[in-house]
């Protein structure tokens, strides 16, 4: 070590005497561990909680997910309407997948539906009849009645439900 640096090295040694307040290190590790413990629950969160926590941390994600959900919903509705139009355009008496569905649904539920014919679809309006516009479409689709309704509608008739 060059002699020139002797005084400087002595002066630098003075920095060893710069000490934090008394007792500072007594609680240091405790504070570190406390912070680590505070972070632990966040690590053991379920994926669902983490998902929600992401929403809190990044609000833009909320918008993105909303757009995605609404888009899916609109797509589903559009698809449903397209399917309905397909049914309406079916020629009367043509067998479709929904006929098969109605047959299998009838077997499974113990109900039997009468085989469809144009003649049996046209009933006069009697007590207990349902106007076409009021029919619950989801149920009708399930038991195959929708097809009958659509066909009936195409013929401007009312169907005895």
């Amino acid at each position: 070590m060059p002699e020139d640096f002797d005084k400087l090295v002595v002066l630098l040694r003075m920095k060893r005497h710069e000490q934090p307040p008394p007792g500072y290190f007594a609680g240091f590790s405790r504070r570190v561990i406390a912070q680590l413990e505070a972070q632990q629950p966040a690590r053991s969160l379920s994926w669902w909680r983490k998902f929600l926590a992401d929403f809190d941390a990044k609000p833009i994600l909320v918008g993105a997910y909303s757009v995605a959900v609404c888009g899916s919903l609109l797509y589903g509705i559009t698809l449903l309407n397209g399917t309905r139009d397909d049914f309406q355009n079916l020629p009367l008496g043509q067998s479709t997948w929904s006929d098969s569905l109605s047959a299998s649904a009838g077997v499974g539920s113990g109900m039997s539906l009468p085989p469809f014919s144009h003649a049996t679809a046209a009933f006069p309006l009697t007590e207990g009849s349902v106007v076409l516009g009021e029919m619950p479409n989801a149920n009708a689709l399930f038991d195959g009645s929708l097809l009958k309704v659509q066909r009936a509608k195409a013929g401007n008739t009312l169907l005895n439900w």
Binding site: D4, F5, D6, K7, L8, V9, V10, L11, L12, R13, M14, K15, R16, H17, E18, Q19, P20, P21, F25, F28, S29, R30, R31, V32, I33, Q35, L36, E37, Q39
Partner: protein, 205 residues
């Protein structure tokens, strides 16, 4: 002429490596009490290294805590190639250098008080009482001038001075922490001392 310069005291002897490895293994498995033991072993040296780099107690406090938290989070990646001490030092030093780069020239000194022993260190007393151009200077003023001069060094040069001249680490230990060879450490140390000498010339004549 000053009395013979005392060798910088070496840091306290490292604990038996096997025991440290065991603590590290337990901490890697998530045992916080084992990690607490590791923190207690190195907290003073890590804090001091950061403090001498920043010359600011509050910054050193925050950075030292963050360094240990980062170390715990990254503990699974610790393979044991270097000692745990060197590994933690690297984390602390990297964190500090990143912090200083963000802080740039916005240096705000927040110095710790000199302990009681400073006034009884004969070499330091001699340095203040010798007839220098600034002989009226007291230890506290000298401390401030020294820290200001340290802050004028680049981070790498300040780090070498801190680790070698203040903390008493060997060139080899510093080279492991800084991931460079010992020759680079020596040349950086020489240059840093020259710079400090120039900044503090009024107090060192």
């Amino acid at each position: 002429m000053l009395a013979t310069i005392k060798e910088a005291p070496k840091p306290s002897a490292p604990p038996p490596p096997v025991e440290e490895r065991k603590l590290v293994r337990l901490a890697q498995a998530g045992d916080l009490s084992a990690f607490d033991e590791l923190v207690q072993r190195y907290q003073e040296r890590i804090y001091a290294a950061i403090y001498h780099m920043t010359s600011n107690h509050e910054d050193a406090h925050d950075l030292a805590q963050e360094s240990f938290i980062k170390a715990f989070q990254a503990l699974k990646s610790f393979k044991g190639d270097a000692s745990f001490f060197t590994w933690v030092y690297r984390i602390a030093i990297n964190k500090t250098i990143n912090f200083l780069k963000q802080r740039k020239n916005r240096t705000h000194l927040s110095l710790n008080d000199l302990d009681f022993n400073a006034e009884h260190d004969p070499d330091l007393v001699a340095l203040v009482s010798e007839k220098t151009p600034r002989r009226e200077v007291n230890l506290a003023e000298l401390q401030e001038k020294l820290n200001e001069a340290m802050q004028k060094l680049s981070e790498d040069h300040r780090l070498v001075v801190t680790l070698h001249d203040v903390q008493g680490l060997s060139h080899e230990e510093i080279s492991k922490i800084m991931d460079c060879n010992a020759g680079t450490v020596r040349s950086r140390l020489f240059y840093a001392r020259q710079q400090l000498q120039a900044h503090l010339s009024d107090y060192l004549k």
